[in-house]
């Protein structure tokens, strides 16, 4: 039985390990451990893996609040960790782009950000996450008071930008990004529904 006590004791560790798993898997692939491999285009593989996990973690973060309506508030303790993992995966996704993909070619990067809509949107997505990660500490939370909550509503914008970025970089088959659009629409729609129901 998973009791609230067990969740309290071991929950965070379990979530932490689960969130590290995709990154560890990727690292094993980078070092070609056993049969694991990145394949013929390793940089693209890293880019895509980190991007998709960033998006998944964002969705997971947003799923917690609606879940607590059903399960009670104990799950909310994982929200900060999930959010920070989302930021970590998205940040590494950007670092892979910066370092391995573009090899610090800043002229090309600036051109990409200004000229390629899907990069512009992704970059804005990362920008909107950054203040949320910085102000995630208890200290900042106390300092900002009720503004903290307002500021952190930015995450709704982040997740829309992230999904839009995914949608725009796909060549033809929109199935996967549309699935994420649907998930995000449900997660945001639930919140709107709740606001109206309580009025």
């Amino acid at each position: 039985m998973i009791t609230p006590l067990i969740i309290k004791r071991f929950g965070k560790l379990a979530v932490f390990i689960a969130c590290c798993a995709p990154l560890l898997w990727l690292i094993l692939k980078i070092f070609a451990v056993g049969p694991l491999q990145l394949g013929p285009n390793p940089i693209e593989n890293i880019q895509d893996t980190l991007g998709i996990w960033g998006l998944r973690m964002l969705c997971a973060t947003l799923a917690l609040t609606p879940l607590t309506w059903v399960t009670g508030p104990s799950l909310i303790r994982f929200r900060r960790m999930l959010g920070l993992f989302a930021f970590t995966y998205c940040g590494l996704h950007f670092l892979n782009y910066l370092i391995l993909d573009q090899t610090f070619d800043f002229a090309a990067i600036i051109e990409d950000i200004l000229k390629r809509p899907f990069i512009t949107i992704g970059f804005l997505g990362l920008l909107t996450m950054t203040p949320l990660a910085i102000t995630s500490t208890n200290n900042w939370r106390r300092k900002l008071g009720r503004h903290w909550k307002h500021l952190h509503r930015l995450v709704y914008l982040t997740v829309i930008l992230a999904c839009w970025h995914f949608y725009w970089q796909v060549k033809k088959d929109l199935m996967e990004p549309l699935i994420y659009c649907l998930i995000i629409a449900v997660l945001l729609g639930l919140r709107i529904w709740r606001i109206y129901r309580h009025k």
């Binding site: 013929p40 285009n41 390793p42 940089i43 990409d112 000229k115 390629r116 725009w168 033809k172 088959d173």
Partner: protein
């Protein structure tokens, strides 16, 4: 670019006919050893080397595991994984349209009269990655001329096989299958344009477009249609799958051009597959480096508008 002048023995002449189409394990076979390969201007590299020993050439593994062939699936690994049920023997090609000789011909009849050459070409995908591939094949023009195209033949259209039972990607209908491509007659008759039957001295694997595909080395890879079952001489510009599906993103010509970006990504540089985690992207060359040979095909054409 590199053309081996000496004819190679065709695989169906050295292997019993019933299994030659399914054979995929002859890498570095004796047919390739010790022959002289000639580099034409525009391609850096060594001479007197088999493809496997030439550092510029991609490995057989990379070439056969990283494919865009939506007929089998959208991921690059899908074609290698999902082409097992694809049966290319027997194979026939329909030749029709503006030519004196038309009809349905066996693969052997199409290829039979010609000597197979080896050509090492750069291959540039519209997605900004590239490879160097040692193809085996015939100049398309040599084949086309046998069918005596008439003066009305201004374009050549190509069509990929449509077999949803063997090609899982076709069942999903992401593109308007069967896949179709086309060239102007001058492009089709250009000596660099290759009708490929193999790579690395073995028959084309399913994922690379078995048993017969086009290679137009100065154009983005999507022009180089795979698993061809129809070649038509036409008077008007034929339907071409990508450029008709998304005309803002893909053009009919699709010449490699570092100065004309795809609306969603830059074409100025490319990632060479197999160059590892720490290699820089390399600059993309106009006409993929084949400008000396092909630029004259496009004099007077505004390549920014006709991309």
């Amino acid at each position: 670019m590199l053309i081996r002048q000496k004819p190679v023995i065709r695989s169906f002449q050295i292997t019993p006919e019933h299994n030659y189409l399914n054979r995929r394990d002859f890498i570095g076979s004796t047919a390739l050893a010790g022959t002289s390969l000639l580099f034409a201007p525009g391609c850096a590299g060594a001479d007197d080397k088999t493809p496997a020993a030439n550092p510029e050439v991609n490995s057989f593994e990379d070439i056969t595991r990283y494919n865009n062939f939506y007929e089998f699936g959208l991921d690059k690994e899908d074609p290698a994984k999902l082409s097992g049920a694809f049966n290319t023997s027997p194979w026939s090609v329909t030749i029709d349209g503006e030519a004196e000789i038309t009809g349905k011909f066996n693969f052997e009849d199409i290829i039979g009269p010609h000597a197979i050459e080896e050509r090492i070409y750069r291959f540039r995908c519209v997605e900004a990655w590239s490879m160097v591939v040692p193809w085996n094949g015939i100049s398309l023009s040599n084949v086309l001329q046998r069918f005596k195209p008439t003066s009305k033949a201004k374009f050549v259209a190509f069509e990929t096989v449509y077999r949803p039972a063997e090609m899982p990607g076709q069942r999903r209908g992401v593109l308007d299958f069967p896949y179709r491509e086309g060239l102007t007659i001058a492009e089709a008759m250009h000596p660099l344009t290759l009708l490929a039957t193999g790579l690395y001295g073995v028959d084309l694997p399913g994922q690379n477009g078995a048993p017969l595909r086009l290679i137009v080395p100065w154009k983005y890879g999507f022009k180089s249609i795979k698993s061809i079952v129809r070649i038509s001489f036409t008077e008007t510009r034929p339907y071409t799958t990508w450029s008709d599906a998304m005309p803002a993103e893909y053009g009919f010509y699709a010449n490699v051009n570092p100065e004309v970006d795809h609306p969603r990504w830059s074409q100025a540089r490319e990632r060479r597959i197999g160059s590892g985690l720490f290699a820089k992207k390399q600059p993309t060359l106009m006409f993929n480096g084949y400008g000396d040979e092909v630029a004259s095909l496009y004099t007077g054409l505004d390549l920014t508008r006709h991309f």
